[in-house]
Subunit: 931 residues, 2 copies
């Protein structure tokens, strides 16, 4: 129970259970204090105070505040309007937000407590207290405000710092001061950090200095003045000298960054709550740059790449936190600390173990050593590679730290997925030249190419290319489609490049700000290396790393650890996982990956195979049922052997065969191709070929459709050309009978596509059931089979009650259902406007990848409810599943679990992810129910 | 309250209030008895007995009976499966159905009562009772069993008839007997009537006779034996001699005919209840063929063509009912009876007036005069021409017979519609050479053409053709599309010809069995006339008549009578009627027809006009917003003047402008055309033209879409090319401001098409509202306008609650909504499979003509409910209407009234029908509520 009027908590007052109120950083610090670890004194301003800030009258224009309140009042997870975020930022920039008096008072009080504990005073000339200010939301979230260090420095307090910092105090003090002004200027006041760097560069030139450490105290003094002048110029205000004013500015900036564009995008993308708010952590500074007995570092409690149970990280002696990141000096591996400072190492190891045991989770730790004293600055769950995630989860179960359910929840679906993609060999020592956002998993090697046309040209030439762009736009689509991977310098998880890469299943690293692209020179530089067009690079979309040259890759595989984890998943999940497979080989692979049935076997793929196509074309060219008989007779044994193979591979498991679905003209050459052919044949004097081509052209013209997706296909074919479906059913039943004779149990389920009206199903099914019965009578052997229907147009959902009277199963074809529900043709939209919609935030996701719950999902819920009610009335079973691509998408699997489907069916490669997601969905529901 | 165990009612026991139980014929006879009119004694076996017959165990196989019970238990109005009807017929043909014992007993009892009243005995050799047996459902229904006359005749009773029939008794008796055997054989036993005619023809040849009356008694005796042999041969059973067996057979046949193919089709088509059943009327025969003091006739109580209040009909002396129809002798006009039999005429006139007054409805009467005694055989509401329907309704109100509400209900929507089509001048004396089913209204003149290819050729040549076919199939579509009218020899109201004609808005007469087509000779004969290909004929789809040559036609018009009726309709209806109009002329016409607003003004039509198209093409070819500016500037004044004209025509009434909707490639030449053009320009050496054509080709290829209906169109254009929408909104607001300055009130409503996700509307509307505000600020004048959206994809319906937050109106675009709900492209489907679906009974109607209530309607109900709920939450008005073609379809208007829309919008020509239908819907709801 939290106190509604308490806005600020000392670390010693908090706990992990208050994570929502204190944020991750605040809760972690509180726990460390509770465990008796050395933590510099500090306090947390709560997430509630953040929300109160936006509610405080005057901070936002009334209308905007009302709009924000309305938006947060809705269930808007993952759908916060970008324009609203922009208007909030603009309004905040204009006004100096006020804190509620109680907030201001409590900050003051807590500051006094920190002063007391630290024995230093804020703004004091002799012994000044300096603090760091960090944002910290409930979940780690890029785009939120960075850390501000050394806050409290000004002309007065600087003297105290200098006098307390030994021999090199003057330089140390001025360096700290300039870092603070520079950091505060860019982070809090919003100037480009480049502008400060420019000043430093100019001074280097002027003074003939090479590196930052070469500057003297006086040099920095000059630059601090220049920094302040820049700030005055850009913001119109003097740099705040008063420490409390500095602190308030930093707090305001943290609060405001909650609705920053990147943070909003991130929450939209990850479906995080916009009404959470962020906490602010204010903590007394400790210094790792006080000489050789000081230092700073970060470390994981286990190896974040392999998952092994060893400390993993790095540190720098005589350095502040930012130096570790800045890359000016190369940090040491954490293991070497054992030799340099054995006692500190031992102490740190102990703390790491203690924290891991306490949180029962691998920890990411930040520490500073100040003159031989170890200070713990942060603890949080550590990010890890996909393989490490699985290994750590498994190991922790073996170690008795967590149970299997927790292990399943600890691993992200994307981490399971990443196992199935090629990845960088973990046994390789890699040296990335750049890193960026790991936007789409997998690793690939190719030559760097800087424009889409060239990529397209080379790609068609079978060259393996990696498209490198500042950012991508729809005009680049053709180049992306042929690339092995995408690398961009700008953009985030919802940028065009990221969206398209995921849509195409390509590895992508985006927003890799370290690479500087020169399009004219056709090269980029990164990490001091220049990469020219045509040079080989490796892009690892799983980790976000970019390497020069060929980095050894290993193919995707299900590791023994993942195998174990998926075994646990199978015990937890209620949803079955089936696979979409058109051949015995695919079926076998699916079974190996754990598929419990085939949810979609598309017979049209069989029709397209080399030796079949001419026969299929003959069939289409034939006029009337009688003329088709010959071709169908030829196709029958071929289809029978197709089904025989798949049924055999899936022995004992159900196999859903979808009867012929696509428009017939797909099997003929296109009208344009045929026209060209005609000219050629004419020129060559091939009269026989000409006659055939003319016939095909005439038929192709007959069959031409303006909107083939909505034309003569699916069951409409079954009604207009009933003999084709009869042949297919005969082949299915004959194959099942043959297998029964061989002692193999086949479980065919015959699926009639594109049903929109119950009478379509009634007409087609009655006829096909008769065919099935005829075949069984002929052979004197009965086999089990089902008849069912695809639910893939809205009308089928709306009238599912009627359809359930005749269907033994429903299979949601969510690709077509999405197309018809939205009125969007996927073929046309993805290249033209759909991805731009996602990029612009008009759609939260590509609805062909993530099931649109509000629209398509609503129809599915209607269909399930009506279907099940009708099935109950008729006292029959109704098996319901999904066979659209969504079947392998984790969020969609959760939804399918929620609405009570029996199975999801997806590509064989998505089967492991689906098994895991189905388990997570079951556990989530269980947990929710427990609460 | 009916007695559940009473299956049979004497005429004297019934009444009009028992119409559902006794059927129309039974109830009419009962009322005539009640009114004291001379009716031959008889009784009615109830519709309940009919239903009981199907339920009686053993009459149908158990499974089939269960299936039928289930089907009738559902609300299946208009959707009874044809295959089920077929299986019932097949089962009935195999079995000799049993009557429940109580039914059999009550028939026997009632027969005894008839015998007593008539003083004759069934099967008696001296004074035999003969009866007629007729079906009679609640509503008149073609396809039900015809009348069987003279039932009760056999070798024994024949002697009684002969002895009682005067000098020519022998011939009269045998003629009656052969008519009975012939009629019973074809009607009850299901033989082809042609087979009997063949026997007669053979005997004519053998005996050298010309007409039927030339045969002697002995001749007929021979033929009766031949008839009986034929029946034995075809049915495997002897002709039933026992009168009661004859009667039971006839009753069974009437019952069975309830599920006959034609009856089921008719009920499906007219949405009549399949669970009504039919009654059977058994009535003592009276004879009009007993000499010159006998006769028979039919007459209407008012003129059924003009509606004038005069007796209208015809009669034949010394004839039986079938002679009037058979056309062997030409009947006399009823007026002449006044001279030939003045007393009888006076009596009949009195009865007609009495019945009309009693039923307060124009009556269709059948009578027989038996030896100077008038017998009334039937009374029922009379069929009438559209103009007569309106005139009679109006007159009856003026006469105080009915009120205005009843008058509105008496006129069918089709009758209102027929006023708007060309029709045969009612002042013309017509002599049809054939009649058939009036399948699609209107009259047309053209040359008879016997195949679709020729019709197509001549039609393209601007010849006015009428396609005459035995029946039509999808292969004839191209010929139908260019014809003025369709005439077929076979098929009913749901035949391909009928469906396509209605879809194309062409007059059609179908199933005109009197015409004999000789396709090889390219001619048809009808009514003794031979019509060769190229001869002019007139087809009147309103009446079903076919005339040789040019019959004078009058154009469609709103008669003063119809004007009055529509005035009453306007007082009753709640739904507003708006019109779809793209030009000021159309808008003016719509207003003249009573439109209260424009529900859809399509701006793309304006873009296609001659002088605009090149500018529009320039705009499309321009790359990027800046390059488009020039074209848009040129288009702005043009669009402004378009809107100015329409707003002015609709002064004071709302006008909904739909922003640009179609895919842009519709404005360019097709890729194929452009390729051809390119070749020509190249050959001609026109380099400038070539450059432009190449650019257009390249752009057309860019814009090419696989499924344009689901592609870059509607609001998607507004998002990708925002300047085009901005130009349109500017034109709208500028036009409204200009009119305001001129003192004319414009009420523009700006409609954004194809919204699928609320964010689309949010993005587009925000921008356009800004444009509207800018224009108003510029001009310093504010005008009223609304922003709203078309609801035309399923997702918009499902998320209507979200959309209602931003939209001020919804307009259902049911064309696209039907396409997406069904997953059917209208362009592709109607020519290929959709009409065949309707013909095969897979779909009850063409869903693009009659709104699909179960599917599309369900989505509309969801949208209305969600939209209104949200509007209430936001305390705002939400105007909801429909602007698809369905807006002018009566059944769809009823539905729209029922779900609470504010208006329907349809073609100007459908406005009168919609006004009337809206009134009927309102009255129906009122009546239902009263009950």
């Amino acid at each position: 129970m939290t106190n509604e009027n308490k806005w600020v908590y000392m670390f010693s007052e908090g706990s992990e259970s208050m994570r929502n109120l204190l944020g991750g950083k605040g809760a972690g610090s509180a726990e460390m204090v509770e465990l008796g670890l050395p933590v510099p004194p500090g306090f947390t301003i709560t997430t509630e105070a953040c929300l109160e800030y936006f509610r405080t009258p005057g901070n936002l224009p009334d209308e905007l505040a009302a709009e924000l309140t309305a938006e947060l009042g809705k269930d808007t997870t993952g759908d916060f309007p970008r324009d609203l975020a922009d208007r909030i930022q603009a309004a905040l920039a204009k006004r100096q937000g006020e804190f509620a008096p109680s907030v201001a008072a409590q900050v003051q009080e807590s500051l006094a407590a920190v002063e007391a504990e630290k024995g230093a005073t804020f703004g004091d000339a002799q012994n000044p207290l300096l603090v760091s200010v960090r944002s910290g939301a409930r979940a780690s979230m890029p785009g939120m405000m960075d850390t501000v260090l050394n806050l409290g420095l000004n002309a007065t307090t600087l003297q105290g710092v200098i006098s307390r910092s030994g021999e090199d105090g003057e330089r140390f003090g001025w360096d700290s001061y300039r870092r603070f002004v520079q950091g505060y200027g860019s982070i809090v006041l919003g100037l480009e950090s480049e502008e400060f760097e420019n000043i430093i560069t100019a001074n280097k030139a002027r003074l003939g200095k090479k590196d930052d450490p070469d500057f003297s105290a006086d040099d920095w003094k000059v630059m601090v003045d220049e920094f302040k002048a820049l700030i005055k110029d850009k913001t119109g205000h003097d740099f705040p000298e008063e420490p409390r004013e500095q602190l308030d500015g930093a707090i305001r900036a943290v609060f405001g960054s909650w609705f920053g564009q990147r943070a909003v995008d991130y929450r939209n993308f990850h479906s995080l709550g916009h009404d959470w708010g962020t906490a602010v952590n204010v903590q007394a500074m400790v210094f790792g740059n006080m000489g050789e007995t000081s230092g700073t570092g970060v470390a994981f409690s286990r190896d974040s790449v392999t998952g092994e149970k060893v400390l993993y990280g790095e540190y720098l002696l005589n350095a502040q936190g930012e130096d570790v990141v800045a890359g000016v000096r190369t940090p040491e591996k954490i293991g070497t600390l054992k030799e340099t400072m054995p006692a500190i190492y031992q102490q740190f190891l102990e703390y790491a173990e203690k924290l891991e045991l306490h949180f029962r989770e691998m920890q990411d730790l930040e520490f500073t050593i100040e003159e031989d004293t170890l200070w713990m600055l942060q603890t949080r769950a550590g990010k890890r590679s996909p393989r490490a995630a699985v290994k750590i989860a498994i190991d922790m179960v073996d170690e008795g730290l967590i149970d299997q359910l927790t292990a399943l929840q600890r691993v992200e679906p994307e981490q399971v997925d990443a196992h199935l993609h090629p990845q960088v060999d973990p046994n390789t020592e890699i040296s990335p030249i750049a890193t960026g956002l790991n936007a789409s998993p997998g690793a690939a090697i190719g030559i760097a190419i800087f424009d889409a046309d060239e990529a397209d040209r080379r790609g068609r030439n079978d060259e393996e290319v990696i498209l490198v762009r500042p950012e991508t736009s729809p005009d680049d689509f053709h180049g992306m489609a042929v690339a092995q991977a995408i690398l961009t310098a700008r953009g985030g998880a919802t940028s065009h490049a990221a969206i398209v890469a995921r849509a195409l299943g390509l590895p992508a690293v985006v927003g890799s700000e370290g690479i500087k692209i020169d399009l004219e020179a056709r090269q980029f530089t990164a990490g001091g290396v220049t990469v020219n067009e045509g040079d080989l690079i490796t892009v690892d979309g799983t980790s976000g790393n970019v390497m020069l040259g060929e980095t050894p890759l290993i193919p995707g595989e299900i590791t023994p650890e993942l195998e174990r984890l998926l075994g646990w998943a199978d015990e937890q999940r209620r949803l079955m996982v089936w696979a979409n497979a058109d051949t015995p080989e695919e079926a076998a692979l699916a079974r190996e990956y754990g598929a419990q049935g085939i949810g979609l076997c598309r017979t049209e793929h069989m029709f397209r195979e080399g030796d079949r196509l001419p026969i299929v074309q003959e069939m289409i060219l034939a006029e009337g049922e009688k003329a088709r008989t010959h071709s169908l007779k030829e196709l029958l044994p071929m289809q029978r052997s197709d089904f025989y193979g798949i049924f055999k591979a899936m022995e004992g498991l159900p196999v859903i065969i979808r009867l012929l679905d696509p428009p017939l003209h797909e099997f003929l050459h296109s009208v344009n191709e045929l026209r060209d052919e005609l000219h050629e044949l004419e020129a060559a004097g091939d009269t026989e070929g000409l006659a055939r081509a003319e016939k095909m052209l005439s038929r192709a013209e007959d069959l031409y459709e303006v909107n083939p997706m909505l034309g003569l296909r699916g069951c409409r074919l079954g009604i207009m050309l009933p003999d084709v479906y009869r042949m297919q059913v005969r082949a299915i039943i004959e194959a099942a009978i043959q297998l029964k004779q061989e002692g193999v149990a086949a479980m065919p389920e015959i699926m009639i596509p594109l049903i929109g009206h119950i009478n379509e199903l009634r007409a087609v099914e009655a006829e096909l059931r008769e065919t099935a019965n005829t075949v069984q009578t002929e052979k004197g052997i009965d086999v089990d089979f089902k008849f069912g229907t695809m639910i893939e147009v809205p009308r089928a959902c709306l009238t599912a009650g009627e359809i359930a009277e005749f269907a033994e199963f429903f299979s949601f074809g969510t690709n077509d259902l999405t197309q018809t529900t939205y009125g969007i043709s996927r073929d046309d939209a993805e290249g033209k406007f759909l991805l731009e919609y996602v990029e612009k935030g008009i759609l939260p996701d590509n609805p062909f990848q993530v099931l649109d719950r509000n629209g398509v999902g609503q129809l599915m819920e209607i269909a399930v409810a009506k279907g099940k009610r009708a099935a109950a009335t008729f006292k029959k079973d109704l098996e319901i599943g999904i066979c659209g691509e969504h079947g392998g998408d984790p969020a969609s699997v959760h939804f399918c679990h929620g609405i009570g489907l029996d199975y999801v069916s997806c590509s064989p490669y998505r089967v492991p992810v689906a098994r895991h997601s189905a388990a997570q969905a079951a556990i989530e529901v269980q947990v929710t129910r427990d609460i």
